[in-house]
Symmetry: C3
Subunit: 140 residues, 3 copies
Amino acid sequence: MGEYTKGRTFLGRLPKGGDLLQELTKVVRENNIETGVFMLIGAVEKAKFGYYLQDEREFFFKEIDEHLEIVSCKGNISLLNGEPFVHAHIIVSDENGNTYGGHLSEETTIFAAEYFIQELIGEKLERTFDKKTGLSLWSM
Amino acid sequence: MGEYTKGRTFLGRLPKGGDLLQELTKVVRENNIETGVFMLIGAVEKAKFGYYLQDEREFFFKEIDEHLEIVSCKGNISLLNGEPFVHAHIIVSDENGNTYGGHLSEETTIFAAEYFIQELIGEKLERTFDKKTGLSLWSM
Amino acid sequence: MGEYTKGRTFLGRLPKGGDLLQELTKVVRENNIETGVFMLIGAVEKAKFGYYLQDEREFFFKEIDEHLEIVSCKGNISLLNGEPFVHAHIIVSDENGNTYGGHLSEETTIFAAEYFIQELIGEKLERTFDKKTGLSLWSM
């Protein structure tokens, strides 16, 4: 566990037609946000997200090629290979109100997206390979 | 994108039987919170939420006339027509643990609701009509 | 409603194989966090969560004995019987991207979990029995 102090706070929206994960990552990198948390709501033109196969140690991806609400998207920002990295989980809903979700992947296309990002200041928070899970986790 | 500083922070609960979106809006307006973010958990006696038809440019609403958990509710506060406006997305769950969600609408009735609101101080954040989506989005 | 100021801010991860609610509660108690909010993403080896039967006034619990993503977990920290108490709602997703959720219960086993906790400083926030709902709610 690490203790942090508040850095900058941002509200903004992402461009229609852009890639949700790439655009979020761009905001984070252009503003040199190395550590933080965020949340986002909006809608997408289509979604792609992953499920981690804990035994096989690989992600299985699902795509939904439909217009969807982003009912929840949130996560954190830390360093992977020295670069700011966005770890996001997303939940989307369809016309019937049914919801689907997972680990946000590229190829999720923004219709509208409003984000809140809270930068945190403190010790560098780096992801390194974790043998127990096969994931890149915080080394703390 | 805009940069903000922290304003006031509130924790509170909303009255049983009240309308979730109206009660949240009331808290926001009575405290003159013009910009901010919030999150909320609790339960409802029934729910109503919307799905935006991106081509038809109108909301389609779904009602669930059941007791439900609020497993996620979050969003932001900004100005619409000069008044503080709450934009919230909600996810509810039923007795089987199945989840449903969308854009929070009026006619969602509170059973219990615990909120966290973070006011943000900075440039006025106003919603104006966005031609590309047909929605009222932040003009930044 | 109560107004709070910001206390300490923590980012951390929870140990694989641990009980999600117990480990979160341990972090909170070991750091004497009496009031606050948190959010968490990750994955679990299995999940258990509750649905409140509003008429019968008891929780009905559902268990999913599967590997699942934690697509959303969030809530608040306040005092119950004088001790810091974590109130969390969780949403998980399976291999098909289907989501399930409710009131986080013990017997949810961590695979990986990354949390953000924001301590809040102010008046003591205590849960007491609420006759209208049968729940322990904030007495404000």
